[in-house]
């Protein structure tokens, strides 16, 4: 066995390998389980977590002030009654999609390369959805009555109004959150067991033991595991499409020029996966370097993700184009005015910025070297993240600020509280992410072992 290891080690590293050279089942397990099990944890983790926690406190402050004073502390007004809250909601929920896309759809499509990143991206999904979920609640004028959006037998004899996309949202997002959580946790079970077995202190052994629901890895467990995993993947797949379609409908249902458009659902889904992959890259690239996981998240992974980025980027670009085309082709004076106003109006700056970020920047990925250079990819991903946020800003704000009656046109000026709420959610997101890396395996060990090249006579 050890001899075989050395053989592999001597092999020249294959640039297209999804696993670094010299990896064995043991090394995979050891290297990955080291992250959560190592004591004491490296300094950079503490620094990072402290920063994230500070931002989280900022969020708490912003929310407390919001509940004391009301949504008036934000820049929203009439006509622009939706502001950052909705922009951020759409942005975060979009980011979540990459996770589900990778773990579910790519799984069903037998894309082996998903293996090393799916665990991490699923976690990302959960935390992004957590951030997204905050905003619809916070943006309500009377959040204390949020439960009126749920159908329950109240003493008023009233029910929610099911024609409203906001009610669909409630169901879409909560379902999405639940399924993602379960999917993620089921995937964790074998690894939790491994951690239990490898943990040094009895305390941690017990904790991981309880979390792993007494997983012993016998054939029966595995059979159930596979079934459940497959079913959940099947369940999650339509959700990838449905959730953001419905978010898209929040706008498409309205008759506001710039919102009222049939392209929105698919266009939103593409955008979601686009921004999602951008966020994955933004997080994975530093992760693999600081934790030296380059053997598991290889340049090949990055390149593949870069390709997805480009593809979805073009879908989004098409979305922009078709918006303008429809506006022009419809001949509707309001739609036409809106398109014009986007390009040369008061918010033209934001629009052109988004075009640069979302359409122009990714084009450098045509160059193979850029696709394989972590640094370049990291920058591109960051820019795309910004761009996708701007896209939502443009959709929400510029559509509202000049609609039908010129007499009620207005401008939107975000306040300090808009910004601190937005930045605060980064705190929530990152803090959760740090904790995840700290206590759970960021890469699916059980599945990674499957990537270790097998030698003859090894398989049963």
């Amino acid at each position: 066995m050890s001899s075989s290891d050395t053989e592999i080690a001597r092999d020249t590293p294959d640039p297209n390998a999804l696993l670094g050279p010299g990896e064995t089942w043991t090394s995979v397990t050891e290297n990955i389980s080291r992250l959560p099990l190592d004591r004491p944890h490296p300094r950079f983790w503490w620094l990072g977590f402290a920063a994230a926690f500070a931002l989280l406190m900022l969020l708490m402050l912003a929310i407390s002030w919001l509940f004391i004073k009301g949504v008036g502390i934000w820049g929203i007004n009439i006509p622009i009654a939706w502001g950052f809250a909705i922009v951020n909601f759409v942005w975060w929920i979009g980011i979540g999609h990459a996770g589900t896309f990778i773990s579910a759809i790519l799984f069903l499509l037998h894309q082996k390369w998903r293996t090393s990143i799916n665990r991490f991206t699923e976690a990302m999904t959960l935390f992004a959805v957590a951030c997204a979920g905050l905003f619809p609640l916070l943006h309500m004028g009377r959040p204390q009555y949020f439960y009126w959006l749920l159908p329950y037998p109240d003493t008023m004899g009233l029910w929610p109004q099911f024609r409203s996309p906001l009610v669909w949202d409630v169901f879409a997002v909560s379902t999405y959150a639940t399924v993602s959580l379960v999917f993620w946790y089921v995937g964790l079970l074998p690894d939790l067991a491994t951690l239990r077995d490898r943990a040094t202190s009895v305390g941690w052994q017990r904790v991981y033991g309880i979390m792993s629901f007494g997983w012993r890895g016998d054939a029966r467990h595995w059979r159930h595991y596979e079934k459940v995993y497959l079913v959940l993947a099947g369940l999650a797949t339509p959700l990838v499409l449905s959730v953001h379609s419905i978010v898209g409908m929040d706008f498409a249902i309205a008759q506001v020029p710039g919102w009222h458009s049939t392209i929105f659902p698919p266009y939103f889904v593409a955008g979601a996966i686009y921004s999602g992959f951008a966020m994955v890259l933004t997080l994975v690239i530093p992760l693999r370097s600081v934790y030296s996981l380059k053997h598991y998240i290889t340049d090949r992974h990055l390149e593949l993700m870069a390709k997805v980025l480009m593809t979805t980027g073009w879908m989004v670009a098409y979305g922009y184009f078709s918006e303008f085309f429809t506006a022009w082709y419809s001949g509707d004076e309001f739609e036409r005015f809106l398109s014009l106003n986007r390009v040369i109006g008061p918010y033209a700056g934001e629009f052109w910025a988004l075009v640069c970020c979302n359409i122009l920047t990714p084009q450098i990925l045509w160059v193979r070297r850029c696709r394989r250079s972590p640094l370049v990819l990291f920058c591109v991903a960051l820019i795309v993240n910004v761009g996708m946020w701007l896209e939502r800003f443009v959709i929400v704000i510029t559509s509202l600020h000049r609609d039908f009656l010129p007499s009620s046109w207005g401008m939107y000026h975000p306040t300090i509280w808009d910004w601190s709420t937005y930045l605060g959610t980064f705190g929530l997101f990152l803090a959760l992410l740090f904790l995840f890396i700290r206590f759970l395996p960021a890469i699916a060990m059980a599945e990674m072992r499957n990537m270790v090249p097998r030698k003859k006579g090894d398989s049963p």
């Binding site: 089942w25 077995d197 033991g209 059979r223 596979e226």
Partner: protein, 216 residues
């Protein structure tokens, strides 16, 4: 299937790796699994139970204060006045037929009789006092609607809703208490299908379930 192969190998591997600790004393007792199952099932049950309890509580007479007499400055008995003496409700609640508010009898109204009868009973002292000092009586509300509900007595009476429909068997109440829950659902039940409660049977009901019929 490949995944299974991989993982059986995987487990074998990891077991080897942890040879020293794992084999000896077990981490959990044998009952652990059962406990876990019970706990999970219990949790699910508990959630449902709480939900149901909440529902029942908010629909209970307790929450709606139905049948609970309210302290009053004067021990006034509707049973005696409305029941035994058969005094018409409108004798005291004068505006019930032409105003939103049914009207509470002024002290003057009480004194129309009680300047003659039971004048010196202890029970009536607050009324006498009020009349002498021209200081109004402070009654405590029994039927209490939220400020955003605009209930109009006159139209209900005009449409043939009897007092007892909403106020319960008032003529048998020695101490006055709320007769019905007066929740919105309770109001709507009648507004959706009033005829069972009405003396007159043909009325326009379309607008009765408009929100602005009661809220503006």
């Amino acid at each position: 299937m490949q995944l299974s192969n991989a993982c059986t190998h995987g487990t074998v591997q990891s077991d080897d790796a942890n040879e020293p600790e794992v084999r000896h004393k077990p981490l959990f007792s044998g009952r652990a699994t059962t406990i876990m199952r019970v706990a999970i099932a219990g949790l699910a049950l508990f959630v449902c139970a709480v939900a149901y309890a909440t529902y029942e509580y908010y629909n209970s007479p307790y929450w709606n204060a139905v049948g609970m007499a309210v302290d009053q400055p004067v021990l006034f008995s509707h049973r005696h006045h409305a029941g035994e003496l058969q005094i018409d409700c409108r004798y005291c609640h004068t505006t019930v037929e032409n105003a939103a508010f049914a009207g509470m009898p002024s002290t003057h109204t009480c004194m129309t009789c009680h300047s003659q009868i039971f004048t010196h009973t202890k029970m009536l002292q607050p009324v006498v006092f009020s009349a002498e000092r021209n200081a109004p009586l402070h009654w405590n509300r029994v039927n209490n609607l939220p400020d955003h509900v605009y209930f109009n007595h006159s139209i209900h009476v005009a449409k043939g809703v009897s007092c007892t429909t909403c106020h319960g068997p008032i003529d048998q109440m020695a101490l006055t208490a709320k007769g019905q829950p007066l929740t919105m659902r309770w109001c709507l039940d009648c507004h959706r299908n009033p005829s069972p409660e009405l003396r007159a049977h043909n009325i326009e009901i379309n607008h009765l379930t408009n929100c602005t019929t009661c809220h503006h």
